[in-house]
Symmetry: C2
Subunit: 325 residues, 2 copies
């Protein structure tokens, strides 16, 4: 199967979105942005063995590739307009491609977003490049730089599930024996099929101040908001919302409780808002701290004592891994 | 240097484009598309050793990465609005990054296009993912599907230079000894620093029928127009415009003369137009054939005889290279 047949077979499904004037098949896709809205763009690169374990089922790779990218739109409060996909493949494996495309299109259909273009190349390293275009009212865009002292800090859903799922895959012995198979399955699905919080982000854009999606870790991603906004924050560790599966894990292994502070891949939204706007939050979310004028990030344990050594999130080029000075 | 410092150091230059409301540094970039125009998007994935020789200087990799992507906009007659860059790097080498960024920004400045977002990840395989956003009047977009019987077929610039440049690098003995160092330098620069024909494409959008950029090879890319338009074509090989360097090469080695039909990487525009519109072409371009109603692609040699065996362009997944049936 050549490059063009591959695209036609797996990645050229009909698009019913009237905003897509021209999809896959020419030099460019052509999209219409509503005249009173602006264009938002985000790009992500996923490498097998780094962004997901090599053993990840291709359906989940397809699903997650789109999910992490849509999550960036959610973090700005935007709605999707179209997405492009670059596929660097070691070989053409029809079964793999079919499952990958099924995962990708399953999530795409859920959010009514069309694949409008892409590129396929041969490469020894499986790599996915995904770029999403979105649209938003320019007066309602959630930026990292708009957090205000006095804001509450909140998160959607639960935090730490994806990190625990990853632990249980990379080190199968790390999962407590008492954990039920259903709990393990839940944690794996949180890792492999994250839900981009598009509806929540779009709602938050009406009243919240700042937002980011948790991709690298709660503290690290919060730090981006603090730096961009020139503020500090206090987080109460005990308030971090945990799933029943995570609670079961921590009950059996309390030493793992620090993980939700640093683990990424949850793709929940971390946002700040005026306390009086909290009643407008009409979806699952939890207040975990507050923005303060004093710079720095302070985390209080269950006794209200500050944690002295804060765990760090994921960095693709940590100092001890780079081969150059 | 971590991922965030890397972006800040090399890829966060000021953007003076008023259409860019928010550039690098948040979850998404925010761009304004003029209300009477539409958005065009194209994405390319470049893998070291496949899209460019591993020995390519990093300045040229940066330049070419952007050039091939801008060329897709040129082929539709659009103008650039912003570009995102995904970098998968084996390591953080400041000298390499500085040269790569210099090449990328040199071409970006030439066409006044801003880098508005991106992603950096570690990967054993150097891979570049680039997505360009552009804008155009929706009534003036050059599509592959609009060629008409009776149209002339023309190309900008000269064809085959990049292919000869690549030959001379991959097989140094292939270049005739009579070729001057200046000719060789010219061919290498055509390979490594192609010029996206943005001004030409934008002008052609006023009157031409169909267009594509020559990335995979003249015949293969022309075939895309023929297939999309449901027409056929005749090409006169002797009319294909050659640079003085290519002419010198073919004088010493006539067997290589077939190469401009199949070699890619020139990023010239191949377009079709009504013969009476030819006087409007106010830039270097050459008529090489005509569109016919009868399907099929016929190439005539210097004596007017049809070539029986047509050379093929580049395919990333040729049948004998795939590892799966």
């Amino acid at each position: 199967m050549n490059e063009f047949a591959l695209i036609a077979n797996y990645f050229q499904r009909p698009c019913l979105d009237a905003a897509v004037l021209l999809g896959v098949g020419d030099d460019c896709a052509v999209l219409r942005v509503p005249p009173d809205e602006v264009l938002l763009v985000s790009t992500d690169l996923l490498v097998a063995g780094r962004h997901f374990p090599e053993s990840t089922p291709p359906f989940d790779i397809g699903y997650k590739t789109l999910a992490v990218n849509l999550s960036d739109l959610a973090a700005m409060g935007a709605r999707p307009l179209g997405v492009t996909l670059g596929l660097a493949l070691p070989n053409v494996d029809p079964a793999w491609l079919e499952a990958f495309a099924a995962g990708f299109y399953t999530l795409a259909a859920e959010h009514a977003v069309c694949l409008v273009g892409g590129d396929t190349v041969k490469s020894p390293q499986l790599t996915l490049a995904v770029t999403v275009m979105g649209r938003a009212n320019p007066a309602q865009i959630l930026r990292r730089s708009s957090a205000q002292p006095g804001d509450w800090i909140a998160v959607t859903g639960t935090v730490g599930d994806a990190g625990l799922g990853l632990c249980s895959i990379l080190e199968p012995n790390s999962a407590p024996a008492s954990l039920s198979p259903a709990d393990l399955t839940f944690l794996h699905s949180r890792l492999n099929r994250p839900s981009p919080r598009l509806a929540e982000g779009h709602r938050l854009a009406e009243f919240a101040h700042a937002a980011i999606d948790i991709s690298d870790g709660l503290l690290q991603d919060l730090q981006h908001i603090l730096t961009a906004s020139g503020v500090g924050a206090v987080i109460e560790q005990a308030k971090i919302p945990l799933s029943p599966a995570a609670q079961a894990w921590f009950q059996a292994d309390p030493t793992a409780q620090v993980l939700p502070l640093s683990a990424g891949d949850d793709y929940e939204l971390l946002f700040t808002l005026k306390p009086q706007d909290w009643p407008q939050v009409d979806f699952p979310a939890t207040v975990i701290g507050r923005i303060e004028a004093e710079p720095g990030l302070r985390v209080l344990d269950a006794e209200g004592q500050p944690l002295s050594l804060l765990p760090h999130g994921f960095d693709h080029f940590p100092p001890n891994r780079t081969s150059q000075p």
